[in-house]
């Protein structure tokens, strides 16, 4: 299973706001088990999609030099379920960026209607754990995640 839970960016304002979308197809692997005859997207994966959207927004501020990792979901609230066939939108707004990390406020929509909201804190791995050696390679922002952003810039 590929661990990318957004299809493409539809809006990107540097250091400020990002919006991405994900079409939930019945062909997704996840629906095989979650659940047979009732294909509902796990809320944890919706949060992952939101975190990927926010993580790229935050990572791009420093030209992807920081290893931005999801550190804490301060709060999350879901109003309804996301089902196969829905178009999901992830909207993230930067709350703050500091040398040690950053946070975003996020909204999840299904077919334009509010589905949930969350606040997510990211750590800059090298900054937050300066004694650990993670090397130069940025394993967070690999080609796949970064190419998602390139698609909106073309």
């Amino acid at each position: 299973m590929r661990w990318i839970w957004i299809d493409r960016f539809t809006e990107f304002r540097r250091g400020e706001f990002a919006r991405s979308v994900k079409q939930l197809s019945l062909a997704e692997d996840v629906f095989t088990a979650h659940f047979p005859e009732y294909p509902v997207m796990p809320a944890s994966l919706l949060l992952e999609g939101l975190a990927q959207t926010g993580g790229i927004l935050v990572g791009e501020i420093n030209d992807f030099k920081e290893k931005v990792v999801l550190a804490k979901i301060t709060k999350a609230k879901f109003l309804r379920e996301a089902l196969a066939g829905d178009e999901i939108a992830f909207e993230t707004t930067v709350l703050y960026v500091r040398p040690e990390g950053a946070a975003v406020r996020g909204r999840i929509l299904a077919n334009g209607e509010a589905l949930g909201e969350a606040e997510i804190t990211f750590a800059h791995l090298d900054q937050a754990r300066s004694q650990q050696a993670f090397g130069d390679r940025n394993f967070v922002f690999t080609g796949e995640l970064r190419s998602l952003l390139e698609s909106i810039r073309k």
Binding site: A71, K72, T74, R98, G101, A103, T121, A128, S130
Partner: protein, 131 residues
């Protein structure tokens, strides 16, 4: 803003950041031991305090890092050295070090970070920004 108002605001900030009950947030409650804060929570707390009180908290000012990094001049055999105590005093003038001074166990440094300490720190910041 009175001392009490500052304390109440600090308390509600911690309730929000750490997802704890208001009744658990007492002046001598330690952030890590009693309220279950983890290192990443400090980042969240700093951000919320800045927003709530309209202050700027530079990195390492409220939660200094140097003493925790095992510098042999500051910590030896698990105890904070005289130089380490000086460092603590200069970096954390808002902390009450009298009890810590008695055993200097580096493992107990986290106990210095109480709700009351945060309130005192904010009080100091607000006083400086007023002058």
């Amino acid at each position: 803003m009175t001392q009490d108002e500052i304390y109440q605001k600090v308390s509600s900030t911690l309730v929000e950041a750490l997802n704890v009950e208001e009744s658990e947030v007492k002046p001598d409650a330690t952030l890590q031991g009693d309220l279950g804060a983890e290192s990443i929570d400090f980042l969240d707390i700093v951000f919320r305090l800045e927003r709530e009180f309209g202050i700027k908290i530079p990195r390492g000012e409220l939660f200094p890092e140097s003493i925790f990094q095992g510098d042999p001049e500051l910590v030896q055999s698990g105890k904070v050295t005289d130089k380490g105590m000086e460092e603590l005093r200069s970096k954390m003038p808002f902390a009450d070090l009298s009890r810590f001074e008695q055993n200097r166990e580096v493992s107990q440094i986290s106990d210095l970070f109480t709700v009351d300490l945060i309130a005192r720190y904010v009080e100091g910041k607000l006083a400086v920004s007023k002058n």
